[in-house]
Structures are given as C-alpha cells and as structure tokens.
C-alpha cells in the first residue's frame, strides 16, 4: 500500500509542474499587452512603460520569469490582481467558500436523489419505474444547464415569485462571515430570517449545478447494481431466504458503491465547470464567476493563479479518490 501511495504521489509532481507551466504560458500568449491593459484608456508613456515592465519583471527572459513564478507558487505567492491589487491567493480563498458551499449542496442533492433512483431502477429492471427514471436521467445528463437555469428562473422566480434571482442573501442582512459559508454564518448571526433567506438563494443554483451529477450517479448506480445483482453471492443470499430489502441494501448496494464513489470523485471537475455557468447566471460570488469576470477584464494574474489553483484542487481530489479506491479494492494497487 505504501508503494502504491508513493508511486501515485510521484506522478503528482511532474503534473503539478506541467500545470504551473501551462497556466504561466497561457498568459504570455494572451493577446493584449498586460501593461497597456493596466494603464487603461489614458495610455502610458514609454518611460512609465519600461518602469512598469521592470517592476513586474516582464523585461527579463521567459525562463527566469517562469522560475520566479514557480518558486513563488510553492510559497503561496501567486501575484496580485491587476484590478483589485489584492493577492490572488487571498482573493481565491475569500471566494472559495461560496463555491464550496454551492458544490457541496449540489453534490448532496445528487447523491441523496441519485443513489435511491439508481437502486430503484436496477431492482425494477425493465419495468415502468426503471424506464421512467432512466429516461429522466438521460434528459438530465443531456441538459444544457445554462438553459435549465433560465427556465427555472422563469418558472420559480418570474411566475411564482418563490425564489430570488441572484446573490447569496438578501441585502438587508449584514453580519460577519467567519466561515464564509452563508448557511452557517447566517444561522450563527441569530438574525431573524437570515438563514431562510440564505436557503432560498441556494435552492435554484443547487438544482442547476446538481442536475448533471445527479443523472450520472443514478445511471452509474443502476449499472453497478445490475452487475452486482447477477453475482453468485447474491443468488446464495436469495437462496437462503434473505429478504430482498436486506439483500439489496447489505449485499448489493455496498459492493455497487465502489464504482459509484469513483464517479462521485470524478465529478468534482464537472462541478467546477458547471459552477462557471451557474455562478455567472445567478451572480453567485464564487470562483467560477470570478474567473469569467477576470477573463473578460484581462486580469492576467487572476486568470493564471485561478487556473492553477483550480487544477491543483482537481488533482488533489483525483489523487484522493485513487487512494481511496486502492484502499477499498486491493486489486488496483498491483498495477
């Protein structure tokens, strides 16, 4: 097991280096001179231009710039945003809880509905429930979520007026946010109605972001369950007179969960990509919206640093999933 962990960790190093190199290189090939962009419409004199170029190190050879950036990254220094002048690292982790809260809620929704849906479909294989659930799952899987969000806004915010259209909480509430999680902070603030307001803001984005993972989990659970239900030990359990409910929950689901956990782990990337669209539509102040805004504002250090941090986060999750998988399934370790 230790060998397995070490070999997996070793592959992490070159990938990390490559990810840093790519996010660094991207910014150097982006059209538009960063200094001209920073100067804005007033323009900049040649003298000032050279001064700024020297200040940011743009006048030095590319490999020196990269080396400085790379060593900076290792110390948690990703440079400062052109727009807000604040460190990218700080900005990222100020906004990250908003994305994390939304993603966690979406994932919980996907698991809570997806697992039972998959199990019910597998147990009723070929019958009405199976067909209805799997058709719905396929529709969810094919859903353009930006359109789905607009539809939900039309119905629930426009026609019914149940949910707000944007933001994380109504503007009349103001309280400190020590954790950054609106649900926890609003509850801790003790203000009447704040928690309820936070929940109402969360509902639509959660549904939108959770839709595709929900469909994927339901489909994966069904096929994993079907596979396990055909195994000999399930037949044995059935033969010795165990109740179907017990067989399904204890013998089948537990073993079917292994591939499902992998899928859950792998959907972190999907969630982050979905967060870009969801946060943009609902003006959710998280990482996704921040990245889109920065791309449009040509805020290079932010695009570069955000890209890197997001990629590293995906890599860490994938690594953890791999290790968990090796822990659950010893056959994998041998490879």
């Amino acid at each position: 097991m230790l060998n397995y962990v070490l070999s997996r960790l070793l592959t992490f190093v070159p990938t990390f280096f490559g990810v840093t190199l790519i996010s660094f290189a991207f910014i150097r090939v982006l059209p538009g001179d960063p200094i001209i962009v920073m100067a804005g419409e007033r323009g900049v004199s040649q003298e000032r231009y050279d001064q700024l170029a020297a200040q940011f190190g743009f006048d030095r050879p590319m490999y020196v710039q990269f080396w400085d950036y790379f060593t900076g990254v290792l110390q948690g220094d990703l440079g400062n945003s052109f727009v807000t002048k604040k460190p990218v690292w700080d900005e990222f982790f100020t906004l990250f809880p908003a994305t994390l809260e939304l993603s966690l809620c979406a994932m919980v929704l996907a698991i809570v509905l997806g697992l039972p849906a998959g199990v019910i479909a597998a147990v009723n294989r070929g019958k009405f429930f199976d067909r209805a659930l799997m058709s719905t799952a396929l529709v969810g899987y094919s859903m353009p979520i930006f359109w789905w969000a607009l539809l939900l806004i039309i119905v629930f915010s426009g026609n019914l007026g149940w949910t707000p259209v944007s933001g994380r909480i109504d503007l009349l509430y103001y309280f400190p946010d020590p954790t950054g999680f609106m649900l926890i902070d609003s509850l801790a603030s003790g203000q009447k109605g704040a928690f309820w307001s936070a929940i109402r803001h969360l509902i639509l984005p959660t549904i939108v972001l959770g839709t595709i993972p929900l469909a994927v989990i339901a489909r994966q659970t069904r096929s994993a369950m079907l596979e396990v239900l055909g195994e000999d030990y399930v037949r044995t359990a059935r033969a010795k007179g165990m109740s179907p409910a017990r067989i399904n929950s204890i013998h089948a689901l537990r073993n079917a969960l292994i591939p499902v956990i992998t899928v859950i782990g792998l959907s972190v990337g999907t969630l982050l990509a979905g967060a870009i669209l969801t946060e943009t539509i609902f003006s959710w102040p998280g990482i996704g919206k921040w990245m889109v805004d920065s791309i449009f504002r040509r805020d290079y250090p932010v695009v570069q640093g955000g890209l890197l941090l997001i990629a590293v986060m995906v890599m860490i999750v994938n690594l953890t999933v791999d290790m968990l998988y090796g822990l659950i399934n010893p056959k994998i370790r041998k490879r």
């Binding site: 353009p144 789905w148 039309i154 096929s223 791309i295 890209l307 997001i310």
Partner: protein, 303 residues
C-alpha cells in the same frame, strides 16, 4: 466431405463482412431509444444541410414592426412567425433551423479533429518506448486536470472569441479522452496472439499499428465519438452563451440564448426554444451513443 466443409468455411469467411453489419443493426434496432435518436439525428443533419432553403424567412432579416411577437397559438401571434420573433423582430423558427448547421458543424469538426489526433497519439503511446509513453500520458494528465469548460474558455480568450476558435479549444480539451481510450485498447490488444503472429510474419510497426491493431480498438472509440459529439455541442453552446463562441448575429443556439437573456421574464419563447433545440439534439445523440455502445461493445452493457 472435406471439400464440402472447406467450401462452407470459405463461404462463411466471404459472408463475414455483411453479416457483421447485419449483426450490428440487429442489436442496434433492439434499442428503441437508439432508433428514435437516429431519426432525430437524421432530421437534425437534414436541417443542417438544407436549413437556409427550408426556413420560412431569412435568419437575419429584421421585421421591426413584429418584434417580440409570441408564437402563433398565443394571443398576438400569427402563423407568419410560427414560433414568434426575437427582440429584433427576427423569425425564431428560421433562426433555429439555420442554427442547426452551426451545432452540426461544431460536432463534426470537433470530433474529427479530437478523434484523429487522439487516436494517433494514443497509438504512438501504446507502441512507443516506455519513456515516450510516460511523457505523453503525463501531458494528457495535465490537460485533464483543468475543468474542460474553463480550459476552453481561457483558450478562446487567447485565440479571440469566434466559433472556429471555440471548436479548436473544445477539440484540444476533448482529445485526451481519445488518447487514453486508444492507448488502453492498444495495450490489451498488443499482448494477443494475432499481433505476435503478425510480427513473426514480418509486419512492420506501422502496419501493426494501423492495419493489425487499430481496427480491433475501434468499438470504444466510436462510442466515445458519439458521446463527445454531444459534449462538443453543449460546450460550444455554453461558450456562445458566455459570449466566447459564435458572435451575433450568427443564429447559433447558445448565442441566441445569451442575446435573449434579458427578456426572459417578458418573452418566454425567445429563451425556451433555442435551449429546447440544444436539449433535443444532445439527447438524440446520447440515445444514439447508448445504442451504439450496446451494439458494438456487448461486454460493456447489455441491460
């Protein structure tokens, strides 16, 4: 006796090709959803090819006096504009029909570029020495570490927003999947006896790669092609929606949605129909993909 059996074998060999196709069709037809998907896809392809000649109006013509007219079954609608008009008075139905070709084009180009590149690199990784393989796979890992839409978004920002650049970006993002898939099948095929015997008979590496091994790796790749066709359409629409794909007044479905966003609470039809078109197309292709997988790769799933 021996003669009869040998002619039979010869006959069987001669008939192998058509019967394979027949077998494929037999399994494919069993899946009703896949057949429906195929029909919808056929309509979609037809519209993509002949859209401008079928559409009742020009897709960019503005009927200013009829702006934001609802569909014909609602009060204020008329049969001249069956699905209503957009804020600039352009006919929704015509724009949707003409828009089919952009999504179709995106799907075809992205899948061809991503698949051919991915298959080549995957074959190379499968046959090359270990260190080349390691380098290739690490590079693929690096690309896969970025969420695809984000990477495509940044790439388009670099290249400049347009449909062509969106396609290039999506192809780059999707291509590692083909590399991994091809490499994995090559690895398992290479150890088989028929490859060894081909090598013993004197087949060169190139022949082994493209003639001996590749045809036997194609099934999962074809399934992946169908799935990435729908991913490409979705991603291109998403980029269009974010303003980084096709630019107005192109009637690309995602771009149409972006233009219609501010009218969502006043005119439901300008938002509903383009999205519905994306959903139905993507759904049809996914149904088709499921059917292909069941028919081509019986090991994967027959349920």
């Amino acid at each position: 006796m021996t003669d009869a059996s040998s002619t039979q074998t010869a006959k069987a060999i001669g008939e192998e090709r058509p019967s394979r196709l027949k077998e494929f069709w037999f399994y494919f037809r069993e899946n009703r959803g896949a057949v429906i998907g195929l029909w919808i896809f056929a309509v979609f392809a037809f519209l993509a090819l002949f859209g401008p000649w079928i559409a009742p109006h020009d897709a960019t013509e503005q009927f200013r006096s009829n702006a934001l007219q609802p569909p014909f079954w609602q009060e204020g609608g008329s049969t001249e504009f069956l699905l209503g008009t957009d804020p600039l008075g352009r006919d929704m139905l015509s724009r949707l029909i003409v828009g089919a070709r952009f999504s179709f084009f995106v799907g075809i180009v992205v899948v061809s570029v991503a698949a051919s590149g991915g298959i080549l690199i995957g074959l190379l990784a499968g046959f090359a020495p270990k260190w080349v393989d390691t380098i290739i796979m690490r590079i693929m890992d690096i690309i896969l570490a970025f969420p695809s839409l984000l990477l495509a978004l940044v790439l388009v920002a670099i290249l400049g927003p347009s449909l062509i650049n969106a396609m290039i970006a999506i192809a780059i993002v999707l291509q590692p999947h083909y590399v991994r898939l091809t490499r994995a099948s090559v690895m398992s095929e290479r150890q088989k006896d028929y490859v060894t015997s081909a090598r013993v008979v004197g087949a060169g590496t190139l022949r082994l790669m493209f003639v001996t091994v590749l045809p036997n790796c194609l099934s999962p790749i074809i399934v992946q092609a169908a799935l990435s066709f729908s991913t490409a359409i979705l991603d291109a629409a998403a980029l269009g929606f974010l303003g980084m794909g096709a630019q107005p007044p192109t009637p690309e479905w995602g771009t149409m949605l972006a233009e219609a966003r501010e009218f969502i609470l006043r005119a439901w039809w300008v938002v509903t129909f383009p999205g519905l078109a994306i959903l139905v197309t993507v759904l049809a292709i996914n149904l088709l993909g499921d059917g292909l997988r069941d028919a081509l790769d019986p090991k994967l799933k027959r349920s």
